[in-house]
Every structure is written in structure tokens, then in C-alpha cells.
């Protein structure tokens, strides 16, 4: 168990700047998830922490020791790879014992640790098998066992579940969560799947283009996204965005107009913006309420998806071509072709400025 701190970390490959000024503090025993679209630098950041890539600029500390120049084996980290990368010619036991043997651990200790790890991961029956005789989920567990056997202070996972099918993924996700509770070790987990991030993390780090967009608990990210990117990335189906215009601002909040919507009184502090400024409204699908609208007014329903427990209603937008989505519990009264008016709940509306940054909730309302 150890804390990790990243201080203005940068990584440059040749002439491409991949990781840009990343600052991050990870507490001991925390489960941190790096999430972001493919190619945003999640793996690179993880590999910088592991020591598989050299840090171009900045300072990385594990515990209270700067480890920039330390080779991976001296950093006390274990890593689980996306492709598992088990040694194909070794048995499960040998795979888990390899690192311990290389560290010149006493024979009895090696045996003890491997058996203890195997017990935690329920691998005892499989110790004599070679990787090719294992199922995907079993390989996954062996890969975790190999990383855990040396009792590293930090466990790193790079998209460990992406090679598994959907049901196994849910099961392994639960096992990893339980494992973290049981071991209590610091874990850093990379994924592009926001559901994995939301379900596993104590703290989510959203990366975009090599920068940290926002760091926070799953609730914070969901309820108070700091940028339009985070708002769109977290949550499924994604948040609806509507272009809007600032009509007026005062100490208590602001008034905003958007095509097709009645004027909205919102609690956001827009004092820094001029009247008439271009803004974007962000409303999650479950926070849109529909009401019947007379012909020629409101939005047209273009599709209704029935998922059993809930229903998605798709609306034709006034601008752009991304359909608006409304989510409600089944059954629904709406059908394709009807026209509806939108009544967003002001408490659950997000407002973003022209630079995609979220407007804060006004001080008067935030205190209440």
C-alpha cells in the first residue's frame, strides 16, 4: 500500500507530445481509474508509473520517494496486461512464482505466497496447468495472481477486462472490486469503458488528449462535470446538449433561452458572461420531462426504444443532427410522430460556456 503523486508529468515520443502536465495525487489504498477515449494516453500514463516508459519531464513519487530513475522492479509495482501476457511455457504456479524467484525469495516463502495468492483468486485447482489450457477468465485471474504474488505496493491494470465477453466482464469486475476491499492495496486501473470506471473507482481521472479533464468520485463526475467533455463521456446514454443564449444574470442565478424551450431560470453563476453569450445546455436523458405540445410546436418523436425496464425516446433536434434522448421507466405513453415540449428540471441542468467549461452554481444557491 502506497501513495502515488504525479507532478507536472510529461511524455514526448519523438516529436509528439502525448502526456501534458499531468498533476495527480493518489492516496494509499485508493482505487483510481483512468478513463478516456482510445488514444488519449491512458496506457502511456500507466506505463510511466510502472517504469516501462521513461518520464520526459516532471516528478513521479511513490510513497515519499521520487522514482523517476528507478527500474520497474524497484518501484514495488505489479502490472496486469490487457493480453494477460502469461508465460506460455510455464504452469500457473511457475507464472506466479517467477517474479518471486527472481527476487531471490526463500523457497518456502515463494511457495507460501503463491499458495496464498492462489487461494485468494481461487486458482488452487489450476496450479499445474499451462495457460493454453485455461479459459479467458482463468487466465485473467492468473495474470492478476502473477502481479499480486510479489505483494507490490501498487497494482496496475491496463484494460484487463477488454478481452472477455460481456457476462464474464461483469463477473470479473465484481471480483476485482472485492479483491480491492480484501487486499486494501493501491490500485490504478485503465479503461475506456465508463461503466467499469463508475462501478470500480474511488476516484476517476478523466483524460482527454493527454490532459486531465477532471478528477473526482463517480458521483462528483456524474453530478458536477467540470467540462462538456466529461459531461458527455460519463453517463449512458450520453447527456443531451442544446445550444443556448444567456438572457440575463444576477446574484441569484441566470436566465437562459434555447430554441424550442421556454425561458429557463437557472441557479448558475453567469456574472462573468455578457448578456447574449453563446452557452450550451446539458441535460441528462433521465432529467428531461416530456409534455404534450400542440401541432407545429415543440419536438417531434422520431424513435422509441423499449428496453424492458426502461424506455428511450428520441427527439428530432432543432439544430445539428444528434438526436435528443429522454429516458424513463417503462411503460411509456409516447409514440413515434407525436410532438412534445421539453421541461427540464433546473436543479439538474448543466451549463457550459464557449470554452466548454461548466458554469458554477451561484453562491446563494450552492449554500442552500
Amino acid at each position: 500500500m502506497a501513495s502515488v503523486s504525479l507532478n507536472k508529468i510529461n511524455k514526448v515520443f519523438g516529436s509528439t507530445h502525448i502526456i501534458k502536465d499531468v498533476d495527480l495525487a493518489i492516496g494509499a489504498g485508493e482505487f483510481v481509474v483512468f478513463v478516456g477515449p482510445s488514444g488519449c494516453g491512458k496506457s502511456t500514463l500507466l506505463r510511466l508509473i510502472a517504469g516501462l516508459e521513461s518520464i520526459s519531464d516532471g516528478e513521479l513519487a511513490i510513497g515519499d520517494r521520487v522514482v523517476n530513475e528507478l527500474p520497474p522492479r524497484e518501484r514495488g509495482v505489479g502490472m496486469v496486461f490487457q493480453s494477460y501476457a502469461l508465460y506460455p511455457h510455464m504452469t500457473v504456479y511457475e507464472n506466479m512464482a517467477f517474479g518471486l524467484k527472481l527476487a531471490k525469495t526463500a523457497k518456502e516463502t515463494v511457495h507460501e505466497r503463491v499458495m496464498a495468492t492462489a487461494r485468494i483468486l481461487q486458482l488452487e485447482e489450476l496450479l499445474e496447468r499451462k495457460p493454453k489450457a485455461l479459459s479467458g477468465g482463468q487466465r485473467q485471474r492468473v495474470a492478476m495472481g502473477r502481479a499480486m504474488a510479489r505483494e507490490p505496493r501498487i497494482l496496475l491494470f491496463d484494460e484487463p477486462l477488454s478481452n472477455l465477453d460481456a457476462s464474464l466482464r461483469v463477473q470479473m469486475r465484481n471480483e476485482i472490486a472485492r479483491l480491492h476491499k480484501r487486499l486494501g492495496s493501491t490500485m490504478i486501473y485503465v479503461t475506456h469503458d465508463q461503466v467499469e470506471a463508475m462501478t470500480l473507482a474511488d476516484k476517476i481521472v478523466v483524460l482527454n488528449g493527454g490532459r486531465v479533464e477532471q478528477v473526482g468520485s463517480p458521483q462528483e463526475l456524474y453530478q458536477r462535470p467540470a467540462t462538456k467533455f466529461v459531461a458527455g463521456f460519463i453517463g449512458s446514454p450520453t447527456m443531451n446538449f442544446l445550444p443556448a443564449r444567456l438572457l440575463g444574470a444576477d446574484a441569484g442565478g441566470c436566465r437562459v433561452g434555447a430554441a424550442g424551450l421556454a425561458e429557463l431560470a437557472l441557479p448558475h453563476d453567469a456574472a462573468a458572461h455578457a448578456q447574449g453569450a453563446e452557452l450550451a445546455l446539458g441535460i441528462r436523458p433521465e432529467h428531461l420531462r416530456l409534455a404534450e405540445a400542440p401541432d407545429g410546436e415543440g419536438f417531434e418523436i422520431v424513435n422509441v426504444e423499449y428496453l424492458g425496464n426502461e424506455v428511450y425516446v428520441y427527439l428530432e433536434p432543432k439544430e445539428g443532427d444528434t438526436l435528443l434522448i429522454q429516458r424513463s421507466e417503462a411503460p411509456t405513453q409516447w409514440s413515434v410522430g407525436q410532438r412534445v415540449a421539453l421541461a427540464p428540471d433546473p436543479e439538474h441542468v448543466h451549463l457550459f460556456d464557449a470554452h466548454d467549461r461548466a458554469l458554477p452554481i451561484g453562491p446563494a444557491r450552492a449554500a442552500a
Binding site: L52, A85, L86, H89
Partner: protein, 280 residues
């Protein structure tokens, strides 16, 4: 209906005739050598497909010669040393060329390939000087050196392509486990590279075992010769007689181990060669 069956039958017949032809062309010289080796010298020039009076006299004669036994021993020493050295250097070089990124890596690979294009004769005199300077003339060491030089490019190329296909994450897993490059090579890569090693090792062995020109040039005395030279220099009863019987017997004796080796390793050879070819 019947005409279709007929044409199918003739097609099959033609196919097997062709196969038979290929087999005869490929196997006949070897068969004739085996046959000659069992024929007494008095009947050598009678044309027949099957020896009427088989004899082991030729075999007894060559195994009676100390110099021939010595030559076999020399060949075994030279060929196994070449295989061992070439594989050791090949594996380490292929790790560097296949896994370590450095400036000029492609150039090095191309130079290696270029070197292997030179015909033996072209470097013969230069190599002779080198061997004399190293004091390896008339010594198996000189042959080991020169064969290794000619075997290495191929070995390095095959092993490098093979090494490149091993997943990067495997090596990184070993690094995370605390392995040095040497341990990664010996404990993780080597066990996975047996097909490629068997292929290149066997080809290196065959090349060293059969090589004639260097063996003839770089050795002087009977005690240092390898098998191909020893066979060529087998002498008959008089200066005017070529001892075909013993020569053939000796050829068969030195070919059989190769055939056995190839049969043992044949599946590995195929998988080794194609593994390098398909994805490389």
C-alpha cells in the same frame, strides 16, 4: 457418367505418375550410391539396378581406416560447435535487432543480409589470411570460425523475425517481474523459440557438415580433416583407381545421421520456417 469417371481416373493416374517421376529423379542418385556401396569393386561397372552379390566389404574397409574415423569425429566437433556458437550469438543478436530500438538497426540488418550474399570463393583468400594470422590454420578452430561467419547471417535473420513476433507485453511482463534482458532471453524467449532454433540449428549443422571448399583449403593433415574432404581424398589401390565402393560407403555413412536429424526435426523445421515467413 462413365466418361466422367474415366477422366477422373486418368487424372489420378497422371498425378501419381508425376509423383513417381519426381520421386525417382530425387531419390535415384541416392539409391545408386547406396547400391554401389554394397557392390564388390570387381562388379562395380556392371549396369544393374539391384546388386547380385551384396557385400559389406566397402564398409569394413572405411571403418578400418583410422583417418576416416578421425574425420567423422572432427566433423561432429566442428558442426556442433558451429551450431552452438551460431545459436548463442544469433539469439543475443536477434534480441538486440528485434527488440531494442536503436539508430541504424535496419542498416545493420541489411549489412548482415548483404554479407551473406558473397560467394565463398570471393572471401576465400582473405579468410585464409585471417585464419593464418589467428594461428588457426590446419586446426578445426579455423573451420568453426569460417562456418560460423557464413551461418550467422541466416541464423540472425530467422531468429530476428521470430523474436519480433513474440508479443511485446510478454517481455514487459518479465521486466515487471524483475527480469534483466539476459534472464528474459534465457528464461522467457528461449523456451518459446525452439522451433526457430531447431530450424536454424539444423540448417547450420547440415551446412557445416557438408562444406568442402573451406575444409579443403584450411586443413592440411589427415588428422584435422572433416568428412567431405576425407571422402574426396580416399585413395584406391593405385594412383589410377578411384575407389568408388568405399567412397559411396563413406557417403552413405555420413548422410544417414543428417536424414535422421531431419526426420526428427521436420515438423519443427516447417513450423519454424513458416512462422518466420507468414507474419514477418
Amino acid at each position: 457418367m462413365t466418361s466422367r469417371q474415366l477422366s477422373k481416373l486418368t487424372g489420378r493416374l497422371a498425378f501419381w505418375l508425376l509423383v513417381a517421376l519426381v520421386v525417382v529423379i530425387a531419390v535415384f542418385p541416392f539409391y545408386y550410391a547406396v547400391k554401389t556401396s554394397f557392390t564388390p569393386s570387381s562388379e562395380l561397372f556392371r549396369v544393374e539396378l539391384w546388386p547380385t552379390r551384396a557385400t559389406l566389404a566397402n564398409y569394413l574397409q572405411i571403418f578400418g581406416q583410422r583417418s576416416f574415423l578421425q574425420a567423422i569425429f572432427n566433423s561432429v566437433v566442428v558442426a556442433t560447435s558451429v551450431v552452438f556458437i551460431a545459436l548463442l550469438l544469433g539469439i543475443t543478436a536477434s534480441y538486440a535487432l528485434g527488440r531494442v530500438r536503436f539508430r541504424g538497426r535496419t542498416t545493420v540488418l541489411l549489412v548482415i543480409l548483404g554479407v551473406s550474399m558473397f560467394p565463398q570463393v570471393a572471401v576465400l583468400s582473405g579468410l585464409f589470411e585471417v585464419i593464418r594470422a589467428l594461428n588457426l590454420y590446419n586446426n578445426p578452430g579455423g573451420l568453426i570460425l569460417s562456418y560460423t561467419i557464413f551461418t550467422l547471417p541466416f541464423t540472425v535473420w530467422v531468429l530476428t523475425t521470430f523474436m519480433r513476433q513474440l508479443p511485446m507485453e510478454l517481455e514487459e511482463a518479465a521486466i515487471m517481474d524483475g527480469a534483466t534482458p539476459w534472464i528474459t532471453i534465457t528464461r522467457v524467449f528461449l523456451p518459446l523459440m525452439w522451433p526457430a532454433m531447431a530450424t536454424t540449428g539444423l540448417l547450420a549443422f547440415i551446412a557445416a557438415w557438408n562444406e568442402f571448399l573451406f575444409a579443403l583449403t584450411f586443413t592440411l593433415t589427415d588428422g584435422q580433416r572433416t568428412v567431405p574432404v576425407a571422402i574426396a581424398l580416399l585413395s584406391g589401390g593405385s594412383a589410377y583407381e578411384l575407389p568408388w565402393g568405399p567412397i559411396m560407403a563413406a557417403s552413405v555413412v555420413v548422410t544417414v545421421p543428417l536424414v535422421i536429424l531431419v526426420i526428427i526435426f521436420q515438423r519443427r523445421i516447417v513450423s519454424g520456417l513458416t512462422a518466420g515467413a507468414v507474419k514477418g
